[in-house]
């Protein structure tokens, strides 16, 4: 078992469902009304693929305009960036390009970009079709994916896909310095166990 940990940042306009995607994946539930994120939130997501255990440090940033200035702090050193848009909201789709440009401008490490179209369950009000989204994603050298948190489609696959791409990068001839694989799987859990037992001992 190889361990890999990477930083994944979710960005996008307000109300496109960034937080929902993450909570859907991690906790498996869905709330119709989600409070607006303030600043940013942080979670771990685990993906197991082949012989890899990938720990994704998921940063969920605020989409609201007034938190725009805080966002750069979170996407620095990111390995993967997922930019979410709402398929029924063209404005949010138009914003995607700005987000990508901003990240490109402010980071100097290689980043894998994902353009994620969310809310595909809204068939009636959908304005951005799959082809348009994919074409755009290809033009900015990003991967395209569609999800629906409501009907729980594509969420698992999105994270698996991100994991698979990260493994590809790590296994490629030139893995970036900030992505490191820990191949020694036995030691880490052992250490944890020792720590836990000792801590318990102290509190007694």
């Amino acid at each position: 078992m190889k361990r890999l940990s990477a930083k994944l940042v979710f960005m996008g306009s307000q109300g496109v469902g960034k937080s929902s995607i993450i909570t859907r994946y991690i906790k498996g539930d869905f709330k119709k009304e989600c409070e607006a994120t303030i600043g940013a939130s942080f979670m771990y997501a685990k993906v197991t693929l082949r012989d890899y255990q990938i720990t994704l440090k998921v940063w969920d940033t605020a989409g609201q305009e007034r938190f725009r200035s805080l966002v750069p702090m979170y996407y620095r050193n990111a390995d993967a960036v997922a930019i979410v848009f709402d398929v029924s909201d063209r404005d949010s789709f138009n914003q995607v390009k700005n987000w990508i440009n901003e990240v490109r401008k402010n980071t100097d490490t290689p980043v894998v970009y994902y353009v994620v179209g969310n809310k595909t369950d809204l068939l009636d009000s959908r304005t951005i079709m799959y082809d348009e989204g994919e074409e755009f994603a290809n033009s900015v050298n990003a991967h395209y994916w569609e999800t629906s948190v409501y009907s729980n489609t594509g969420i698992q696959d999105l994270f698996t896909k991100i994991g698979r791409n990260l493994i590809e990068i790590v296994e490629s001839s030139k893995p970036p310095a900030n992505l490191k694989v820990e191949i020694d799987p036995e030691e880490v859990p052992n250490n944890d166990r020792i720590n836990n037992s000792k801590i318990q001992c102290c509190t007694n």
Partner: protein, 602 residues
Amino acid sequence: MNETALFSSKTMERLSLAMKYDEHFRHVMALLDTTVERDYKAKIISLDILSVQLKDHGNDKEIMKKKLQEMRIECERLMHNLKSSNRLLDEANKEKRHAEVERDNMAQKLENFYRLFNSANNSNLNRSGSPVFQCEAERFDQIPRQDTTESVLSDISYSRVEDSLDSDKNFEDAMDRWEPEVFGTVKRKRTSGVTNPNEMRKEIETTTTTATQIVATTTVTMQPFTRNISAKSIIEAKPSNLFPTPSAPPISDSLDSFDSDPYGNENNQNIPNTIHSSSALNKLNNRAHNFTQKSVIIPEICGPCGKKVKFNRVVVKCLDCKATAHLEHKDKIPLPCIPVKSTPSKNGGRIADYSPMVNGRPMIPALVIHCVNEIEQRGFDTVGLYRIPGSEKDVKALKEKFRKGVPNLSDVDIHVVCGCLKDFLRTLDDPLIPHYDWKTFTDAVRNSKDETEHRLYQAISLLPPPNRNTLAYIMLHLQKVAATPDCKMPVGNLARVFGPTIVGYSSEVSENLYFDCELSNKVVEEMLKLSPDYWSNFLNNLVPLRAQNTPLKRTSSRPLQPTHTPITKNNRIFGSSTKRRYLESPRSVKAARIKQLESKKK
């Protein structure tokens, strides 16, 4: 016979004479040929043109210099503006805080009134929630809070200026070095030698120098017997590598050098239980000093050895962090160089007042970093780290020393170091979690377990940058302490110690202090349970861009000052700290001084 011989010899003579004449004639003709001269003349003319151009360049340089000077003045003016607006902002902030307190009071009154009103005609009004609370909810939502001047400044790469001025200086130095040659215009080197018996060669090498080096080599070859004269000239433009590149080193470069940094890892190995090898911390710990040399006028105390440096001895002083030491103790000054700000003379102040700016981002106060480093180096085998109090007198004395520079912590009792850190955090006017955020934080832990984490993340992201960075640094440190079994200080204990210190109390004078205290402890406990990956993200952001290997370059670019340093800010007759010590001298300071003197007598 004789006659014929005579005749033949005469004819021979005549013939040879004719031949000689011929030869001479030919020779003269060759000499009269003016093509070489013409070529040479052309060459000289072109050289003249070159020299004129050089002169032009010189003039251009003058103009540029003048422009640079103007720009610098302009820059200074702008800087002044920046500073004054800074001050204004600070004032406005202060007013804002006043207003907040006032508003809180008013809200309290209104609420009381409302309650009174409600109880008076209970039957009439059954509305839920008071209007006061609604205004409460809105209070900070509209304006992005710029609590500190630092957060405003963070967009401007303020401290870069210094570096760029440095390179300017280099540039000027280099220009000065070139000056004689620039105005002498042409340096000529003549090598005339007869390398070959039937060949005369003249070589003129002209080297002129401007920003790029121009080397003109002319070779004139004369072969006297064949009348063959050739001139060859090569003009080359060589990029001069003597000029320093004025641009800053690329960021990626510096980052790489940090990543492949062996020392940082060593640092971490000292720590018995590294749950997280955060490279950000290593980077922070490797900031190098920026030394300058000077001779002492007012006796100063050497940080590492603690002795007084006498009159006219030479000390090194770091320009950024004001650490002072004997020349021979230079290497013993603790490594991470944290620039000091002019700290407020009194105790207290806000965290932003202590946080220096590095590359436009607020750093962590020097006191915090040095104390934490010391504790991480030798405190991890101490039982009851942070729990056992140090001598209060020593704590005060140590804190006073920090005000003047970086003291030597290696023989201070570890509990005193901890005490100093705690005391520093406790005596801030606004605790690490400011009064106006107290409610947000305590609300976060009051909620259900599921929500706590999420709400804490949001509350933390709203803190002003200096507070957030310092909090992150301290949390990472405390998590290490909690994970060290030898300390016997699990999360719960640390939370109890640091609850009131970091979180403080609600802004109103609280009736139920005990309950507040419990909440504070809970906040710290929950924050300690957050992932180290989360906290280290904030520190990643304040890794100085200045590469770790720059000290070499820096020392060369900024030469050590000569020993006859003019009396500057640093060694005025009364340094500001000295003045403060004598003129204000609160009792504790006096006590510290007396103790210092006593220990010296011993």
